[in-house]
Point group: C2
Chain length 448, copies 2
């Protein structure tokens, strides 16, 4: 339950430009901006929500729908508090915290090298730190109409908790046999001492987790399998191989229940950081919940008649982190031949917020162009824009990662063809209207 | 901010059978069941999450993607607390609560006719109620590493709050002009005094809300427009017209900021209940947030140069309530000709969790059947089942609302045709494998 080591490295693109683009074009911006924001909380705007939903849907497709051995669930954010006692979160889910007696600011004790100079100490530039204290990261609330301790509840700190408590119900209802998995996407909350790096470390975030239940003797095989599957997923959504790496946890980094852990790291502008973890959790979770609930959570091997508590291989992805990595991965300020610069997001079509922009050369031919947009909209998220210079309209689409622009011009009225312009190469091609949908479909699905 | 009047009426199907089916087949069940559950919280199982996601996706398609004048967002559940001061929730979002001095149970003062007999009073069957007290329904938590009052935050009680605080950012980023809307789907929390009626009144729930911003002189027109659109949506997802009605709020029912409100009600087994509300909120929200934030939230009419604060027409749907209504609407215990009974969910294909089940007549011909399943799975959620009696396999699909079963039999090996069985009519048809996908597509989309 320890956060990843935060190494630093040379940024490949400036974070500021990306953050600015995100706000300006409505991908991601501070929550409650008009009230000065709230530290560690972010809102996804019109383009951000489409990007994030595309990412989640594709994860769901690959993890749940494509497979016969994984079931999905969507559980409540607030579960019975015993869930978090059994998991150890109530007692142990903490970071070490220190205060500076001079400037009154608060820091994570394991991040003091990044604390900077103390603004309040005149003779010395150093902070005057207190001893580290343990600070529990679970967000607490009160449920029910009384405020006594019995009604204390927690906002989940990870989505996997209810996968374990729902294990028996889901197995019975779905008639799955070991090995099989349960997957979930949903919000989780951690009262981070120092939220930072844009959406990377925030207090409210979304996870996409899979808990794969298998015989304890099979964990190594499944660990390798799922690590490979997840790497494949990241390649499918378009990550640059040079900005992805795996990092195995050393024995000193592992949580006590965790036998093996590999982080998938992405090279952000602020360094290599974890976007997903693959964990061999052993039989810890089901054993704990069985003990705390008094319910039998073991299963029987039908061939050998052996009873055993299933072991778990977990793949735990941060949705917001992955979305941010996708944006950083895609962002380029490209120098064009004519000396101009264009900002372009090279997003893979599967995650691009808008798949196709339909742009009539003139408002006068808006009607047939709108018809094309309406037709394509049945299948994809389509943007229609008829105002302004066509070059500027292309640039606006480049900047938000739209893979294809379709231009309807005066010639289209007579030859029933349109111009399809591809974002990355900027190449243009004439395509017959009648084959347009099939053409776009095939090009969007390239590489999937 | 008052809850709807809860009228009662004759149930059309028993609630118990539906609740039991939901648990047994993995649609919806109590959260944290193994710990005895937690009152007012529910988990969606493998079929429930698909049903709910289908409903949300179709709402998003109709409300956001199909339209040029609506933008989507996905904001944090925890916003700046001023958001809820401006909206009046911190001060006024409360239900009247009474305690029974004898049995110590707690009730909503406006629901006392449903409180039943007091188990603790021997001579009298009546409760011994205290005077009503106001009970705020907002869930509170503490953000940041200190526990002083400054860090108190709230879990949102409705998703619309951040639509208003993000209004200016979204308008600027999307370059939309009035009239236009902002839509959001997401979790909200209310500390209900008495959660009940399965998922209908729970403490954690999901909303799908649209706030449509228009000139104050145009609210009546847009109110009528959106009421009609929402009714159309409910027809599209398959609601029985006889179980849907609209109910206009009387002047005494309206929240102080609300000029007009119409509930869309569904006839649940426990009576007519609101599943969605259409509200004319006037300029209340933007005016309040402008005042509390000191930010200018008015807009200028480009034609007349008039500055005005946009008025809002809201459509606010309960996702869990609508999902529950869909299940109740679909549920039938059907008496067949042979005297047997089958349980069937007549779910519209657009919301059905599984669109197609592929069932080879025998395991021996599993391989080609699996190939068909894999092919169809690229497009739809497909279930594959090769074990057991074919009649029983059909019944298991009927019970979860799968519109089509495809049976691959020994004849299929030679004639390349399969049998497609339709759920409601139980009619079977031979279809060529080569045209199967197009056949299923066209039948799934009937009526959309």
């Amino acid at each position: 339950m320890k956060s990843e080591a935060e190494t630093s490295s040379t940024p490949t693109v400036g974070m500021e430009d990306l953050v600015s683009l995100c706000a300006r074009r409505g991908f991601i911006f501070q929550s409650s901006e008009i009230y000065g924001g709230i530290n560690g909380f972010w809102d996804y705007g019109p383009l951000g929500v489409e990007l994030k939903n595309n990412l989640k849907e594709f994860w769901w497709q690959r993890t749940v729908r494509d497979r016969e051995d994984v079931e999905g669930i969507d559980s409540a954010i607030i579960a019975h508090p015993r869930t978090w006692e059994a998991s150890g979160h109530v007692e142990h889910f903490a970071d070490p915290m220190v205060d500076c007696r001079a400037c009154k600011r608060r820091f994570r004790a394991d991040q003091l090298d990044e604390a900077g100079h103390c603004p309040s100490r005149q003779g010395s530039s150093e902070h005057d730190f207190t001893e580290p204290r343990s600070f529990n990261l679970m967000l607490r609330t009160q449920i029910g109409a009384s405020e006594d301790a019995a009604s204390t509840a927690y906002l989940r700190a990870e989505t996997c908790g209810s996968i374990f408590t729902d294990f028996k119900r889901v197995r019975d209802a779905s008639r799955q046999k070991i090995p099989f998995g349960i997957a979930q996407i949903g919000k989780a909350f951690r009262n981070e001492i120092n939220p930072r790096n844009f959406t990377f470390r925030s207090r409210e975030f979304e996870q996409a987790e899979l808990e794969f239940f298998c015989h304890p003797s099979q964990t190594e095989k499944w660990f390798e399998y799922w690590l490979e599957r997840r790497l494949c997923f990241h390649r499918e959504i378009g990550f640059d191989e040079r900005r992805l790496r795996t990092r195995s946890h050393g024995a000193d980094e592992l949580a006590h229940y965790c036998k093996q852990a590999v982080d998938l790291e992405f090279l952000f502008p602020f360094g290599w950081k974890e976007i997903e973890g693959i964990h061999d959790r052993g039989s810890f979770d089901l054993t704990q919940h069985s003990e705390f609930s008094g319910k039998e959570l073991s299963v029987m091997d039908e061939a050998t008649k052996e009873r055993f508590v299933p072991a778990v291989v977990e793949t735990s992805a941060g949705v917001d982190r992955t979305a941010l990595a996708l944006l950083a991965n895609a962002y380029e300020e490209e120098r064009l031949e004519d000396g101009e610069t264009r900002t372009v997001l090279h997003l893979h079509p599967v995650v691009a917020p808008i798949k196709v922009a339909v742009l009539p050369l003139s408002k006068k031919i808006g009607e047939p162009a709108r018809k094309i947009a309406a037709e394509l909209r049945r299948r994809w998220n389509v943007f229609y824009d008829e105002s302004g210079n066509i070059g500027r309209r292309y640039r606006r689409q480049d900047e938000i990662g739209t893979p294809f622009c379709i231009t309807y011009d005066f010639q289209s009225e007579t030859d029933s063809q349109v111009t399809v312009r591809e974002r990355d190469s900027m190449k243009q091609e004439r395509v017959a209207e009648s084959g347009l949908e099939a053409y776009i479909k095939s090009r969007l699905e390239e590489g999937l």
